[in-house]
Amino acid sequence: MISRKLQYVIAALTVAIFVLCFYLVHLKRKAESMGDEPVPQAMTAPISGPAEEITLYVANDEDASLLPVSVSSAMPLDPGERGRIVIHTLITRYLRNDSPHPLGAGADVHDVYLLDPASAVVNLNAAFADSHRSGVEVEQLTVFSIVRTLKAQFPGLSRVRFLIEGKTRETLAGHIDISGWLDVAMVADASGELK
């Protein structure tokens, strides 16, 4: 006969195994739902600062050009927040009625994280990707326009990665691969070839 004490031990062990199994499954799901890069927490930063000249690389579907445009915007000091504001300003421009490269309604950027001076992660919202037009050139123009705009803001930037709602996606809208890091120098070379 097994003592009562032993029965408690067995019951406790069985429960522990199940709890651990569920925890393991939970961890696995969580790991799958995140990109393989840690997403740092957004830092609190002043919402606005003095107005500055910023450069946006604006895409034009008609001739597939990517041209620098200077605009003035109030800019905070925090680098991540600066990144978010330039990309938000760029997207706002694409959402205008006279946009040379229209994006879908509701498209926006949640955050831009600078992991180190050379690596930036751009976390876009679901509407940005879900409503994006599908095509090699249209998707390429969007991605290159964001990468080059960030490069203009952060000259030391060498690679950029995209997340949609905090998660890695294979492609922006069926074509351009955004599952990994994009090399900023190669993007600059390739967009030079564009126009």
Partner: protein
Amino acid sequence: MLRAESIFVRVATLLLFLLAVGLAAETRRVVVYAPKTNYQLDILVRDGVDYLGLTDLLEPLGHVESRLEDNKLKLSFNGGEAEFQDGKRQYRVRANARLDLAANFLLVNGRGYVPVVSVTQLLSRIAVQPAEFHDGSCRLFIGSTKISYSAELRHDPSRLVLSFPAPVKPSTLVEKGRVHLLFHREPVVSSGADKVSYGDSFLLSTSFAEIPGGAEFIATVQQPATVSIGDGGRTVIISPATQPPSAPGTVPAPTASPAAQPHSPVPRPRPFVILDAAHGGSETGSVFSPTLIEKEINLMLARQLQKELESRGISVVLTRVADNPLTGDQRAIAANTSHSSLYIAIHSSASGHGVRVYTSMVPALQPRQTRRSFLPWELAQSPHLDQSRIAASAIAAECAYRGLPVRSSAAPLRPLNNVTIAAVAVEVAPLGASADELAAPEFQQRIAATLATSIASLRGKLGAAQ
């Protein structure tokens, strides 16, 4: 010590039991092939009888309404009426026709269940559709959905040609002495004789059997064999691996165990170019209008280009000839094993005008790396980037010469990074304002002729896959 061992034994036994219960509880399913749709239904077992949910069965076939009155289920399907009673075999259909189920009707949580074996009778009465249930494979065929094949042994060289009235895409497994074709997607059924002896020097015999959820065709062969699929999936050819095996214009079907195929001493005829109509299946690419979908335009363009190339004496293979989905990796593997010299992915777009030519955005080979260095899959294109750029410039030059707007650039576009031959992607956009132009024969012919001329100019300039 003893106590710890006994704990382990008990815990292990408990876990094994739970695992066994889990496995035993794995639901069996019936695969339903209907004229417009295929679906699967879970089997519910009660008192040793297999049951199917009545509304789950009928809903994909038409308009179903059901209402519960006490222990009766009244059902209307496409205007016809039927009435079932919980725990009773007898049911009523339309005007007072009374019929019997093979076992009692079941009501579980307000949902009606009928015995699987009675489903054919039920469908013929309620849905007025002939139906056939195959017990061995748990497949239900509604209407004339079954696909039966014909098999013919042809000679010089010996090869078995299987012809199907509709496209099929079997999984193939080639092992020593046997070739297996597994049909899990299509409703393939026996064509009469399930076992046929040929006694040929290549083909000894064939057999056909239904297996759970599908069917399996096995050819017993006396020589190493290969499988190729042609005519848009309507023809499957099993031929000796040492003979030219392919149906014209197709890539060999990917096999589950390529390593099991012995090395063939005689090389296959080498195509010069592999054309990859991008997208396919549920992955549609761009949708220009309800009737104009990128995956279809891409395939039309690929076919037109194939014709133009073949008329110039250039041999071509296609990654897909039907509306089937392929992953980027599958496309790259098809290119890398095709022994071609050039891979061209074909896309179409309603944005902008003319032709865009893309090469991989992969880093060029570092000076210390050699072509023979081991490279990760993501960098497989690196050693071939120069050749890809030669191909891209040739295409761009011909487009410009013929007055087509053209641009070329590098792009992070799958599967270009993973291809180990010269590789480019082409995106074609209309010249005018309307996307309808993409489907116009004159437009497609103009694009195809331009691409074909530039590809022809690349002969002798590109190396083949190693």
